[in-house]
């Protein structure tokens, strides 16, 4: 698996995401936001958490219009894999690679804690390492994680089995307890919780490891 992790000014989970990919066996290249091309032969692009461009205007809005994001969108359009965590999920909705938007948490507070996530589908290369219905412990750390989409979009996400993870105890007001969703081709994942922060015994939990291992298995270099 060859992974690229995009670094924006204000990204702060880029290294964590790179380490999680590496521990699963990936060869990782960091890519700066001003680069206009991804390196050749990349299987998956990781968009990390953080506060890209200081969250100015809207979370992820300015990053979504950066030069590298055009290449990431082209990579996704070619059927490439993309994974956005936290601010990365916000960037993916702002680019339109995933539907909906992330609003301010319903309780207005920034929330930083480990939450229970239900694996809502096994049918993706991101979630194949879990069983449907498994409850895993993964940290969240966000102020704007309240997933919103219109009723038609929510019905489509449910009908097409595109909800990847849902909260067992909704912390932020997200519609339908949605914590993470998949694209139509199931190769783009956006999620607010941080699996890369539950990927090493030193983190206090390793429930995120199965996600990276499943990806590495699916994208093993032939």
């Amino acid at each position: 698996m060859r992974a690229a992790v995009v670094v924006f000014p204000g990204s702060n989970c880029d290294r964590d995401l790179a380490v999680a990919f590496e521990q699963a066996g990936a060869e990782v290249t960091m890519v700066w936001h001003k680069d206009s091309e991804l390196p050749e032969g990349i299987d998956i692009v990781g968009i990390p958490g953080g506060f890209s461009y200081g969250d100015y205007l809207r979370c992820g809005a300015i990053a979504a219009n950066s030069p590298i994001c055009k290449s990431v969108a082209a990579h996704a359009a070619r059927g490439g894999y993309v994974m956005g965590v936290c601010n990365g999920f916000q960037v993916l909705t702002e680019t339109g690679m995933l539907p909906g938007a992330l609003l301010r948490n319903a309780g207005l507070k920034y929330i930083c804690k480990t939450v229970g996530l239900k694996v809502a589908t096994q049918a993706s290369d991101f979630t194949a390492g879990y069983a449907k219905g498994d409850v895993i412990d993964i940290p969240i750390a966000h102020h704007d994680g309240n997933y919103f989409a219109d009723a038609e979009t929510i019905a489509a996400l449910k009908g097409e089995d595109r909800i990847a993870f849902s909260y067992t105890d909704n912390p932020n007001g997200a519609i339908a307890d949605i914590a993470g969703i998949l694209s139509e081709n199931r190769r783009v994942l956006g999620m607010m919780p941080h699996p890369e922060r539950a990927a090493d015994a030193g983190h206090g939990g390793t429930d995120g490891v199965a996600l990276f291992r499943a990806l590495a298995g699916a994208l093993a270099t032939a």
């Binding site: 809207r58 219009n65 702002e94 938007a101 301010r104 319903a106 207005l108 309240n146 919103f148 219109d150």
Partner: protein, 76 residues
């Protein structure tokens, strides 16, 4: 020339910040505030010849997220 863009959350999209302001006003004794919606105002200083359509393009592509926000443009 200048343009002023107002961006608001669409009707039906929860505005927790507006709700917090409404609660604060009530707590301060301002009775009868039935709803508060908070938005933003963006002022653009534009070269001569810019049109409303240009600004609307800016809104569609960056200034507003039309999944959750609506916008109005005033040219001055």
């Amino acid at each position: 020339m200048k343009a002023r863009v107002h961006v608001m959350l669409k009707t039906g999209v929860l505005d927790p910040q507006g709700e917090a302001v409404r609660h604060a006003l009530g707590a301060m004794g301002f009775d009868g505030v039935q709803g508060v919606r908070q938005g933003k105002v963006i002022e653009l200083d534009l070269a001569e010849g810019a049109t409303q359509a240009d600004v609307e393009q800016m809104c569609e592509k960056l200034l507003a997220n039309t999944v959750i926000e609506s916008y109005t443009v005033e040219m001055a």
